[in-house]
């Protein structure tokens, strides 16, 4: 017969552990301070940076593009420079808990001086406390949630403009150019879609447009019933879903029910899955294939990764992020050693006169790119065409 554990043993163990906690907490404060930013890495011939993103998991197709472009840049840099950059990769699988663990992993690796990523806003929020504690600078290519640059996320930078700018650009375009008077807004309850839809709704309402705002479930596969709820007389439907295939279905089912209303999407609209004729979408980067200066880079990229390698709107910002980080790390390492604090300082000073995205890159003190704008495309003959810079 097993006897239950005696109380004294449990007490003894708990006291022992509590003492350990006490010692740790006391030393933890000092340890944290010294681990952060202070430790210098020797980097005469090269340095290490981290990359984290949703390489596998639910958004693996975007993750592949987010990953290949910065690695491509690093390979180009390493081919031309004696200062070699080594990339440590982490796959957060589009899961905040994984992002948290990988952030711990990167932070405790003293060689890593800066991080590219994470890919989306939820992962940024999860990784932020750890990077903040470690003094690590991290540049996300496409995390667009507006609040991330309010100063409480550590040394966070991003290339894509924040969603509040997307909301303003979208609302202005809808009112000024599309002259819509009655708009139906649908979000898909995702972290990207919901705040954007809410912002656009209130901006439109402020300009006197009549707006109905509802959401669809992330598991919804049939929008017919939802579409019956679109009030008659609606002349624009705004659907900033994260999944272009679902927007495509939405548009097709609207047509099936005889509602030929103009569609406006968010930046997931830049995808072969979405090809509703005449639909508009806003995105954070122009099609770099239209920028003449980028042609040699694009050619080299396809040569390396094959003609089917992904190039939509996620790759170029990721490339630019790598560009900025690598150059800042190289600048910090000019004297042979660098700390994470030095890299942060150099990032704040970073200035690219031109970039793959067609505009210069310089950061505000909170981490946004100065003057970044959203652009608007329309799908004509199945292909997106830039209609507003």
């Amino acid at each position: 017969m097993k006897r239950p554990i005696s109380l004294s043993v449990t007490l003894a163990l708990s006291i022992a552990a509590a003492t350990a906690v006490g010692i740790d907490v006391a030393s933890g404060a000092t340890a944290a301070r010294s681990a952060a930013a202070g430790a210098a890495a020797s980097c005469k011939n090269g340095a290490t940076i981290g990359y984290m993103g949703p390489t596998t998991g639910a958004v693996a197709s975007i993750g592949a593009e987010l990953r290949e472009w910065p690695l491509f840049y690093v390979s180009q840099w390493n081919a031309k420079s004696k200062f070699k950059i080594n990339v440590v990769e982490g796959d957060d699988q589009f899961d905040p808990a994984q992002a948290s663990t990988i952030a711990t992993q990167f932070s405790s690796n003293q060689k890593i001086l800066g991080v590219l990523g994470p890919g989306s806003s939820a992962e940024v929020v999860a990784a932020a406390p750890l990077f903040k504690r470690a003094g690590m600078s991290y540049i996300a290519a496409t995390a667009t949630r507006a609040s991330l640059t309010n100063g409480s996320y550590g040394h966070f930078f991003r290339i894509a403009p924040p969603d509040n700018i997307q909301a303003v650009t979208t609302a202005n375009y809808i009112v000024t150019f599309l002259k819509a008077k009655k708009v139906a807004v649908f979000d898909d309850q995702s972290a990207y879609s919901a705040p954007l839809a809410t912002s656009v709704t209130s901006l439109l309402q402020a300009k006197g447009v009549s707006v109905t705002h509802s959401s669809v479930s992330q598991n919804a596969t049939d929008y017919s019933a939802t579409i019956t709820n679109i009030p008659s007389g609606t002349d624009l439907v705004y659907t900033p879903f994260t999944n272009p295939a679902k927007m495509q279905l939405f548009g097709q089912q609207m047509a099936e029910q005889g509602k030929n209303i103009r569609m406006f999407a968010g930046d997931s609209g830049y995808s072969t899955d979405f090809h509703i004729e005449g639909a508009y979408f806003s995105t954070f980067a122009p099609d770099i294939r239209d920028i003449r200066a980028d042609k040699p880079v694009i050619k080299a990229y396809f040569k390396k990764y094959g003609a089917k390698a992904p190039l939509t709107t996620y790759g170029p910002p990721s490339y630019v992020a790598a560009q900025v980080l690598v150059q800042s790390v190289a600048a910090a390492c000019a004297d042979g050693t660098a700390t994470r604090a030095e890299v942060y300082r150099d990032l704040l000073k970073a200035h690219l006169a031109t970039s793959l995205l067609g505009h210069p890159i310089r950061f505000t003190k909170h981490g946004d790119v100065v003057g970044a704008q959203f652009v608007i495309f329309q799908i004509r003959n199945g292909k997106p065409v830039l209609v507003k810079k």
């Binding site: 097993k2 006897r3 239950p4 554990i5 005696s6 043993v9 449990t10 163990l13 708990s14 022992a16 552990a17 509590a18 350990a20 906690v21 006490g22 740790d24 907490v25 933890g28 404060a29 340890a31 944290a32 596998t56 998991g57 982490g90 796959d91 699988q93 589009f94 899961d95 905040p96 808990a97 948290s100 663990t101 711990t104 992993q105 932070s107 405790s108 690796n109 806003s121 939820a122 929020v125 999860a126 932020a128 406390p129 504690r133 949630r145 409480s152 309850q189 995702s190 972290a191 919901a194 705040p195 959401s215 479930s217 992330q218």
Partner: protein, 484 residues
């Protein structure tokens, strides 16, 4: 360890009678002696040794990452212990368990963050959250009173889905009487900026601090569970698990017992949620999905439902393996090591084992040579991650440059062959083992090793299926007698 010479426990057969002979003989050998010595110690002492050993980890760990893995492991272990109460002891299949974990995390976040600007001291919020979770568990269990286990399983699964949906949308709720919407759960963005846990003014901020905190929690929960198991309620649960009808005939309040199990498990899960929320400094709806549920189930089933030591072992094993799977090179060692270990356990005598291993290597070399001479362009891939083992793998496994399509076909073929192998006996099985092993290595190298998230989930699913078929009692559980 099971001796493959004797027939293993078969479902539907009387386990106790079948193993009578085993009980009579005394096992010899170092492993058996170590096992006897270990089991000879009193449980409290065994537990104390385990906890002491665990508390050394932060001291010897070379990086915070390892400690972080340790914290995750302890959290999973406690979760698995809670699920063990529901599934292992009471025999109730609760597929909504992660929702209680999520509820605990969110409730703690609401009480200790800037969401509502409430910052309760941890000593107040933790018990409140635990009790609230337990009550929620009882509430969810209420409709189940009349239901068969199967229906209960689906209802709890639905509840888990409903929880995620609710939490995802509870950022625009307009309570009656208010004009504007209230943001309760942060919606898809979750709640961030959750307070650190603090006790009597001491703040737990570092990963190592959280390690010790969760270890203390573990050290407190295990004895409590032990007492519950030994109590009347624990015995009643065991009776309920074995045969609900007989239990009812004996006058046990079956419905109340089920509710108690639900509530208990939910309370443990909620309590763990608080630690998780403050560790991650935030909670997100995506934290509490089906993948987590399956992971915890795999831990419980692997360790042995009903056995606390087993469940903890399962948690440690699975979490460590999943972490190792993140990087290709260590993952490779674990994979091949596991295959060899499995062969060692199940393939006797040693001559047969050696024949199979030699056969597999030979088969592989032959295939590699053939493919290289016939279609060299197709097989120019490199083992991801490189390393010592990768070097040998390059020479042995055919690594395609475009692994996708053929890899998928090979994957399906591998599943088929494994299924067929379980039905074969004798020489046929031995003969087909080398090609199957090579095919498995092929699929692993070409498709799985560089895809940790996919591989992790597939392994968990396969683990559940194969455990239930081959060894439902897991590592340390006791095989159950079922009168068919």
């Amino acid at each position: 360890m099971e001796d493959p010479g004797l027939p293993g426990p078969e479902i539907g057969r009387d386990e106790w009678v079948a193993r009578a002979d085993e009980r009579l003989e005394v096992e010899t050998g170092t492993v058996a002696r170590a096992k006897r010595a270990w089991l000879g110690l009193r449980p409290p002492l065994r537990f104390g040794i385990v906890v002491l050993a665990a508390s050394i980890l932060p001291g010897v760990a070379s990086s915070d990452y390892i400690v972080r893995v340790g914290v995750n492991t302890i959290i999973y272990a406690i979760l698995a212990l809670g699920l063990n109460v529901v599934v292992g002891w009471a025999g109730v299949l609760d597929l909504g368990y992660v929702a209680f974990f999520g509820f605990g995390a969110y409730f703690y976040a609401l009480l200790s963050s800037n969401q509502f600007h409430i910052h309760w001291p941890t000593l107040a919020s933790m018990p409140v959250v635990a009790i609230a979770s337990a009550l929620l568990g009882v509430l969810i269990g209420l409709p189940s009173r009349r239901l068969l286990g199967d229906y209960l399983a689906i209802i709890t699964l639905f509840f888990a889905q409903a929880f995620v949906t609710l939490v995802n949308n509870a950022n625009r709720i307009t309570p009656p009487g208010h004009k504007t919407a209230v943001d309760v759960t942060g919606g898809p963005n979750g709640i961030d900026g959750v307070d650190d846990m603090h006790f009597f003014g001491l703040h737990v901020t570092t990963v190592r601090g959280y390690y010790y905190l969760s270890l203390i929690l573990f050290a407190l929960i295990v004895p409590a569970l032990y007492r519950v198991n030994a109590s009347r309620t624990g015995r009643a649960w065991r009776a309920l698990r074995e045969d609900p009808i007989a239990a009812e005939l004996m006058g046990m309040p079956v419905k109340r017992l089920k509710l108690a199990a639900f509530g208990f498990g939910a309370g443990v899960a909620g309590l763990t949620g608080t630690v998780f929320a403050s560790l991650q400094v935030g909670v997100f709806p995506g934290n509490f999905d089906i993948a987590l549920l399956i992971t915890i189930y795999a831990m419980v089933i692997l360790g042995g439902a009903g056995s606390m030591a087993g469940v903890v072992t399962g948690a440690v094993t699975i979490n460590v393996v999943l972490e190792i799977l993140r990087t290709p090179d260590p993952a490779r060692w674990v994979f091949y090591g596991f295959v060899v270990a499995a062969l060692l356990t199940w393939l006797r005598p040693y001559t047969r084992l050696l024949a199979v291993i030699a056969g597999t290597i030979a088969f592989g070399i032959v295939v590699h040579v053939i493919v290289n001479s016939v279609a060299a362009g197709a097989a120019r891939g490199l083992a991801p991650g490189g390393g010592f083992l990768g070097h040998w793998v390059d020479r042995w496994v055919v690594l395609l440059t475009n692994p996708t399509t053929i890899g998928n076909i090979a994957y399906a073929a591998m599943l088929l062959m494994v299924a067929v192998l379980t039905q074969l006996k004798g020489w046929w099985r031995v003969a087909l083992l080398p090609p199957t092993l090579y095919l498995t290595a092929f699929v692993w190298e070409n498709r799985l090793v560089s895809n940790p998230s996919g591989a992790r989930l597939i392994i968990l699913g396969a683990l559940l299926v194969s455990l239930m078929n081959a060894r439902p009692q897991g590592l340390f559980g006791s095989a159950r007698i079922e009168i068919a």
